[in-house]
Amino acid sequence: MFFQLFWTYLKIGTFTLGGGYAMLPLIQREVVDRKGWIDEEEFLNMIALAQAAPGLIAVNSAIFIGWRIGGWKGVCGAVLGAVLPSFLIILAIAMVFQEWKELPAVEAAFKGIRPAVVALIAAPLFKMAKAAKIGWLTALIPVAAALLIWLGHVNPVWVILATVFCTLVAVDIAERRRK
């Protein structure tokens, strides 16, 4: 089971570009459709849990599926398979990048790439805001969070903790009133 999970996740990890979210459809095809290790409904529950829990979504899903199918051995296999390809590729790049960076051609290319990267980080916000069903009032939350971090240099960790704390207090007050 260790090797099967390792191999499956290694394949998925090697061939998905663009981060954790891009891995989900491939994981579904391999684990649900092809191998039948878990069913559709459990897979959807898994995605909800992997997104709700902190950490990388691809790794979270590997842990869940590894555990459900192969226990400890499954977890080790799936996590190693999910992490190893990007680890090795970046390690190889890190080894040569320091020198390549100095080359005029690479330097010029990166001058063009840097503003593109900033756009790639910012642009998905619209789609994500729509998916989160944001309203005029709730839009204040991301705006406040962004300003606190950007201009106030507040560590994002505090912003996350404040969100959790305020929500729990607000829900608690609402619940008490209902009773």
Partner: protein
């Protein structure tokens, strides 16, 4: 104690990294800036590399920062540290899965917190982008044109979806095109 710093920083990033890769960027940025592990420019470069190589951005950044600050073992340590909180939390969730599924589905404390975190995550991503708008990354007016074009092509399929606009919105293609443009403009 570079190893201890690396471990604690990336453990923290794994522990508070809600909402996927882009949201994790602002956390990584803060830690990297605090200890001076990378320049702003280097950070953007490694995000660019992450976008065109396979795997989660968090792993890519951890491996890169670990290697450049403390060599091979630094990269192993940082990568393990970012995965460790996931292991602890997800395994607890797995063990309590059936119980959780029944109890937490309609628990307002739980569902509302997740809902609000989704909004906060949008702010984290926005701050990651805003923090990178600096003269080192935007060197002249051409930079802004590239920024506007990439943003435009990324968002385009939402209004006007066909085969061409979907292909043009692909991040890898856009980065490669921006790199080619940079090569011819700044060489």
């Amino acid at each position: 104690m570079i190893y201890l710093q690396l471990f604690l920083s990336f453990f923290k990033i794994g522990l508070f990294g809600f909402g996927g890769g882009l949201a994790i960027l602002s956390l990584i940025q803060m830690e990297v800036e605090r200890y001076g592990w990378m320049s702003q420019q280097e950070f953007v470069d490694i995000v660019a590399v992450s976008q065109v190589t396979p795997g989660p951005i968090g792993i890519n950044c951890a491996t890169y920062v670990g290697y450049t600050t403390a060599g091979f073992w630094g990269s192993v340590l940082a990568t393990s540290a970012i995965v460790l909180p996931s292991l602890i939390i997800m395994l607890s969730i797995c063990k309590a899965y059936f119980w959780l599924n029944k109890k937490f589905h309609d628990n307002p404390y739980f569902t509302q917190t997740l809902r609000m975190l989704r909004f906060t995550v949008l702010g984290l991503i926005a701050s990651a982008a805003l923090l990178l708008i600096k003269p080192t990354n935007f060197i002249d007016s051409v930079s802004w044109i590239i920024f506007a074009l990439v943003a435009f092509f990324t968002v385009l399929p939402q209004w006007y979806k066909n085969k061409v606009t979907v292909v043009l919105s692909h991040p890898i293609l856009l980065i490669v095109l921006a790199g080619i443009a940079g090569y011819f403009i700044y060489r």
